[in-house]
């Protein structure tokens, strides 16, 4: 494959406990691109995010995932992160007792070490944090707390994007980052994501609703249904989906979940 490809998924089949969830996904992402994956509940969106990030408990039964020239599926989650893959969690985890700043500094330095960069000391890290935190309009005091503990729902989501800003991933996978956000918070988050876009990185935005894509404008939209990408197109596809519902997509109407979700 070309080194200019960031992610290349081919015929990926994956499941949990013997139940097939992804049933043959193929997707290629190049530098500078923003891809959106849309789909109803149960279509496999979060499973795709989980498999890409390396969450335990999923069985890959077929297919390949190449990431920047490497076999992604061979890597541990931490190796993927150090190689520049970032997952913004749908449900960011609270970690009592682990200080946010300490955690993020440890993470950044692991990633820097892997890239052959010197570790940042406390002062350098503080400067970086101050610069990046403005982007997300987050209160700096939140970083004195334990990871995600006592954060509101919106703060948790903004904190994910703040971490993304600090860690500067090559590929960011945003798993329903819009869920639970009001319109103002959504705008802040989307604005942050947009500012992090560069010609040499890429974003994979997973969402149920078209709403987020008003703010994060994708180059490509893929519709996931029952574990398959049933349609791909430009940004207009998202608008069409919004207007017509998921059951409009061919091959998807058979799934009652899709019909129910397409409201």
């Amino acid at each position: 494959m070309s080194m200019e490809t960031i992610l290349e998924i081919q015929d990926l089949h994956a499941g949990v406990d013997g139940k097939a969830i992804l049933k043959g996904i193929s997707l290629t992402i190049h530098p500078g691109e923003v891809h959106a994956i849309m789909g109803p509940n149960g279509s496999g969106k979060s499973t795709l995010a989980a498999v890409l990030a390396g969450r335990e408990g999923y069985t890959i039964s077929a297919g390949t995932v190449r990431y920047c020239g490497q076999d992604l599926l061979e890597l541990d989650p931490e190796e993927r992160a150090r190689a520049g893959l970032f997952l913004a969690f749908q449900y960011p985890v609270e970690i009592p007792g682990v200080n946010s700043t300490y955690f993020l500094k440890a993470a950044l330095n692991e990633i820097r070490k892997a890239r052959g960069l010197p570790e940042l000391d406390a002062m350098e890290f503080l400067h970086l944090v101050r610069e990046k935190i403005k982007l997300l309009e987050l209160d700096e005091n939140l970083l004195k707390r334990a990871v995600n503990v006592g954060f509101s729902g919106g703060e948790k989501k903004r904190n994910e994007i703040f971490q993304m800003a600090v860690l500067e991933p090559r590929l960011a996978v945003l798993d329903e980052t819009d869920s639970g956000l009001d319109i103002d918070a959504l705008r802040v988050v989307a604005n942050g994501v947009n500012k992090l876009k560069r010609p040499d990185n890429a974003q994979l935005v997973i969402t149920h609703y078209q709403r987020l894509l008003d703010y994060i404008v994708p180059d490509f939209v893929h519709v996931l249904c029952d574990g398959r990408i049933v349609k791909s197109g430009g940004k207009d596809l998202a608008l069409e989906l919004e207007a017509k519902g998921y059951d409009w997509i061919m091959g998807c109407s058979a799934s009652p979940e899709c019909v129910a979700a397409a409201t």
């Binding site: 990030a53 541990d76 931490e78 970032f86 970690i95 007792g97 682990v98 993470a107 692991e110």
Partner: protein, 461 residues
């Protein structure tokens, strides 16, 4: 346990042969003949012995000892530690102990006997007394009589009775009304291991009078790996509005038996912060008794126990709300690996009339292996109607979702586990108010977690 370099040099011949093992009563009578103590104490000792003779050691049939068998202690001969090794330790050896760099007074006891040469007591003119109990008994028994052996009662448990009958020495601390002792007063209890299977009985009395403030750190450890029984009882008496921080750091060797008591009489508007850090011993049992005897008092009882291999760490708590408008908060976390066992028994008693009581108890346990176990037993007895009492216990493993979150940010799995375990211990360590002690504890406990392979990962030689 410390490295053996701390132990006396083998060139020192052991001249006293191990005494023939005598029945308990004979040992007692022999000691009693040599003692020159006030009559009230002699009588109290005899009463305690008689009490023990009646009850004997507890068994698993005893409700308070259901999960903790002291049969291995009962099987040992009762052999009080002699004084013959106390003076063989150098100050340099002492410098290798944790907390050594701390400012403040230090009383050092080897095998239950006070060693003035290793101790360090500031000269004072403000009436604050820091000395050995034996010295205080010799010179100011009238100060001790109203308190000593009155708060840790011989009928509390068999080991308290034994302690009362046999204690050799300990610390006497008195902080007069309004005085503030800023630096922590450190009590160091060393087991030399020079005689096999000895029993070391220590008794401390701490008086913090009205409006006075003090921090006391008890540090118990072994100088080598020999079996010993350490039975250490502390009585704390507080005047109105006193502020006290008490820390017990138990780090005996993995063959030792450590049975201890902390008995606090808590006066009006007193703030007590009492910590237990139980890191050592094959069997560790700590009786914590907090009696809230004045209105508006607050007690925070905070503890962390770490156990690996076949070891057992047991905390037996009784919080007695005797007066209204008192608050007690118990926070105990346990980290257990291998086949270790944790026991937490937390009794909260709210007496009739103790209205507006605010009592909270939390016991959380982290099991790092499938074979580690914990028995946690809350027990609430409430005889007042306008009270707030809560209790909660959890037993669980490291949260896989938390580990994944950390790994997904580039943090290696082992470091992620370490961070989470450290955080669990840190909840307790963070409640220590005395900053230099807290920082040292943090280092020590973290080192220990790594050394003892509590993490359940790597580090296997």
């Amino acid at each position: 346990m410390l490295s053996t370099t701390l132990a006396p040099q083998p060139t020192q011949p052991v001249t006293t042969p191990a005494p023939a093992d005598l029945p308990l009563r004979a040992v007692f009578e022999q000691l009693q003949r040599t003692r020159t103590e006030p009559a009230w104490l002699r009588a109290a000792r005899r009463k305690a012995l008689e009490h023990f003779e009646q009850t004997g050691y507890p068994t698993l049939r005893d409700e308070d000892w259901r999960f903790t068998s002291v049969a291995p202690v009962a099987a040992l001969p009762f052999r009080p530690a002699s004084t013959s090794f106390a003076s063989q330790f150098s100050a340099a050896a002492l410098a290798r102990l944790p907390f050594h760099g701390l400012e403040g007074d230090r009383l050092v006891f080897v095998d239950g006997h006070f060693v003035p040469e290793l101790s360090q007591i500031a000269h004072r003119t403000d009436g604050v007394v820091v000395t050995s109990l034996a010295t205080a008994l010799a010179h100011q028994p009238e100060d001790l009589e109203p308190h000593l052996v009155r708060h840790a009662r011989a009928d509390d448990n068999a080991f308290a009775a034994l302690n009362q009958a046999f204690f050799t020495d300990g610390a006497f601390i008195r902080v007069p009304a309004g005085r503030v002792v800023a630096a922590p007063i450190r009590l160091v209890f060393l087991a030399s291991g020079r005689e096999p299977d000895v029993t070391i009985c220590l008794r401390n009395l701490v008086l913090v009078e009205a409006g006075a403030q003090a921090t006391v750190l008890e540090h118990s450890t072994s100088l080598d790996g020999a079996t010993h029984v350490t039975n250490c009882v502390t009585e704390l008496v507080t005047g109105d509005r006193a502020v006290v921080e008490h820390l017990k750091f138990q780090d005996d060797n993995a063959r030792a038996f450590h049975v201890a008591g902390f008995h606090a009489r808590i006066g009006r508007s007193v703030k007590l912060l009492a910590h237990s850090f139980a890191l050592g011993a094959r069997l560790a049992r700590f009786h914590v008794r907090a009696g809230l005897h004045g209105e508006g008092a607050e007690a925070v009882l905070n503890g962390l126990y770490l156990a690996n291999r076949e070891r057992l760490a047991d905390h037996h708590m009784i919080v007695d709300h005797a007066r209204p408008q008192c608050a007690s908060h118990e926070y105990y976390n346990g980290i257990l690996s291998d086949r270790a066992r944790g026991v937490f028994h937390g009794r909260i008693l709210v007496q009739p009339g103790a209205q507006k009581t605010d009592a909270k108890q939390t016991n959380k346990n982290l099991l790092l292996s499938d074979e580690a176990t914990v028995d946690t037993k809350p027990q609430l007895e409430i005889y007042a109607d306008d009270v707030k009492c809560t209790h909660g216990a959890t037993v669980g493993q490291l949260h896989p979702e938390q580990i994944f979150y950390l790994r997904a940010r580039g943090i290696p799995e082992e470091m992620a586990r370490q961070m989470l375990i450290h955080a669990f211990a840190g909840e307790i360590i963070d409640r220590v108010r005395c900053a230099p002690v807290r920082e040292e504890l943090d280092r020590l406990i973290w080192d220990r977690l790594e050394q003892q392979e509590h993490l359940g990962l790597g580090a296997h030689d």
